[in-house]
């Protein structure tokens, strides 16, 4: 028996998930950002009415966190994104599969998809307001649209990229079409579906804030608009910080889920 090299399995735990070191580096980078902001405020280069001190914003943030209002805004915004992403993906999955699997369907639908994908969903907001008014259905329909077009392309490119060798191997072992779908296509497409999930969450979040800026009484976008209307600059800052924080947290959750579902991947 010749000596063949096989990499040790113990090494893979470190490759995914985050270590304490990267976490501390993340904290340090935000602290540096805060310090730079403090210095900028202290330097008096900007009017202090326009650039509040970090601690003022922190004070408003803590105040708002103790009240229900801000949490309600966060909850509403998050819920809109989740509904948009879930519904958008639910439509994108079968459509993406059909496009990836059947060449003829792809040639027919590809140009249309590319047009709508290139079109920023925000451009549709005025039309949607005309159709649905400014209520919840208007916002959610824009989000479903955004989630669908951003994910369908990732899913179908993913299906298209599944190496044909897997299909041939399974056919040679006697797999039926349904078995090939269930045992090859689904697991081989999973990484791309998860990428689609992350991409569409990002796109939806951007779109949501735009939609809330235009028309919403509640939600994190509305928080910013209210701050602007009452000239409460710290409130605007709180809105911005919360939007960023929630987006980062969502992405982290998805990253974590991805790493756990795809332990088998080469480059995780």
């Amino acid at each position: 028996m010749p000596q063949e090299r096989a990499t040790k399995r113990s090494g893979c735990a470190k490759q995914r998930g985050f270590s304490t070191a990267t976490f501390l580096a993340g904290v340090a980078s935000f602290l540096t950002l805060g310090a730079a902001w403090g210095v900028l405020w202290w330097s008096n280069l900007f009017d202090r009415g326009l650039l509040p001190a970090p601690w003022e914003v922190l004070k408003v943030l803590i105040e708002q966190m103790t009240e229900k209002e801000l949490w309600l805004d966060i909850l509403l915004s998050t819920r809109r994104v989740v509904v948009g992403v879930v519904c958008g993906l639910a439509i994108a999955l079968p459509v993406g599969f059909l496009l990836g699997w059947y060449k003829s369907v792809r040639a027919f639908i590809d140009p249309v998809i590319n047009f709508y994908r290139a079109l920023p969903p925000i451009a549709l907001i005025p039309l949607v307001i005309v159709y649905f008014g400014i209520g919840e259905p208007a916002r959610v329909s824009v989000l479903i649209y955004a989630a669908f077009f951003s994910s369908v392309i990732v899913i179908y490119e993913g299906i298209k990229m599944i190496p044909p060798i897997y299909i041939r191997v399974s056919k040679a072992l006697g797999a039926s079409d349904f078995e090939i779908f269930k045992k090859i296509i689904v697991p081989a497409a999973l990484p791309h579906v998860l990428t689609a999930f992350r991409v569409s969450t990002g796109v939806c979040w951007t779109t949501l804030v735009a939609a809330e800026l235009v028309a919403a009484e509640r939600g994190l976008g509305a928080v910013i608009v209210n701050g602007q209307n009452f000239f409460q600059v710290p409130v605007i800052f709180v809105g911005i910080i919360m939007i960023g924080t929630v987006a980062v947290l969502m992405d982290q959750v998805l990253r974590y889920a991805t790493a756990h579902l795809l332990t088998w991947q080469e480059s995780m």
Binding site: M1, P2, E4, R5, A6, T7, K8, R9, C12, P163, I165, Y166, R168, V169, S170, K171, A172, L173, G174, A175, S176, E179, K183, I184, P187, A188, L190, T263, W264, Q265, E266
Partner: protein, 273 residues
């Protein structure tokens, strides 16, 4: 061995088989009037230049490609698509990265068409895990395996559903020389234990002589059988065989023929460009 083979049942018959591919840049005839037979338990190699149509011949037998004219019979009947009675081994292994070693071997056994093996499923997986020297790696994912181990895994997976014909398309082509030799020896060992009818495509004359009963030398495109060589060495063969003058003489002789065809194929490739 020799007389045994003559009496053995014919498993596969290629009779005047031709195949032309029609592409955007015109038609290419890849296989022309090929006839040969594979007897039960026989190990036959196809050697010839790349792009000459050997793979097409193997894929027709595997059921992935159908011939234009001529007949291919498998145990007396025509070929109706791929099936688990013929195990296929590819150069690029094709092990499923999302399944552990154990689950990869079990893959074929988990399919409906192999339900008759259900009662022995566990034993079969354990048996081939051991036979291909993969024990200890049951729960490892393919990303942790070397190229040689991946190919052994592909072999174990193919063996598990008990095909009686193995079709191997340059199975060791992507491996370094040392691993390649190790795998050849191992294949020899496994075939001694569980005899199969084998059709092997290879570029290596040495590999072909070392492993086969019979070698078919294939011409440049369109593929024709140029020469049939019976390999006279008895089984089981050991690496020492490759050092004997008889082996070397045969190797040089066949390499000369195959080099000529290689040059011809190069010219053909240059013309089409």
């Amino acid at each position: 061995m020799e007389t045994q083979r003559q009496e053995a049942r014919e498993r596969v018959i290629f009779k005047n088989v031709s195949k032309t591919y029609h592409g955007d840049h015109g038609s290419v005839k890849v296989v022309e009037d090929v006839s040969f037979k594979l007897a039960e338990g026989e190990f036959v190699s196809l050697i010839g230049p790349s792009g000459c149509g050997k793979t097409t011949m193997l894929q027709m037998l595997a059921g992935f490609v159908t011939q234009d004219t001529g007949q291919i019979t498998l145990d007396g009947g025509p070929i109706k698509g791929p099936g688990s009675d013929r195990g296929v081994i590819f150069q690029e292994y094709g092990v499923f990265p999302w399944l552990t070693v154990e689950k990869n071997i079990d893959f074929g056994l988990s399919l409906r068409c192999n339900k008759h093996l259900e009662s022995q499923r566990k034993e079969l997986v354990a048996h081939y895990l051991k036979l291909m020297h993969l024990n200890g790696f049951e729960n490892a994912y393919p990303k942790h395996l070397s190229g040689g181990m991946r190919q052994r895994l592909a072999l174990a997976r193919a063996y598990a559903v008990n095909p009686n014909i193995l079709l191997m398309d340059e199975p060791f082509g992507a491996l370094d020389a040392q691993t390649r030799l190790a795998l050849q020896l191992q294949l020899m060992e496994v075939l001694t234990e569980e005899r199969k009818t084998v059709l092997l495509i290879t570029h290596s004359v040495e590999e072909a002589i070392f492993l086969s009963n019979r070698i078919l030398i294939i011409s440049a495109r369109p593929s024709k059988i140029l020469r049939v060589v019976d390999v006279p060495f008895p089984y089981p063969r050991t690496p020492e065989l490759t050092a004997t003058p008889e082996f070397q003489r045969l190797r040089l002789e066949l390499e000369e023929v195959s080099m000529q065809q290689y040059a011809k194929q190069q010219e053909l490739a240059a013309e089409t460009q």
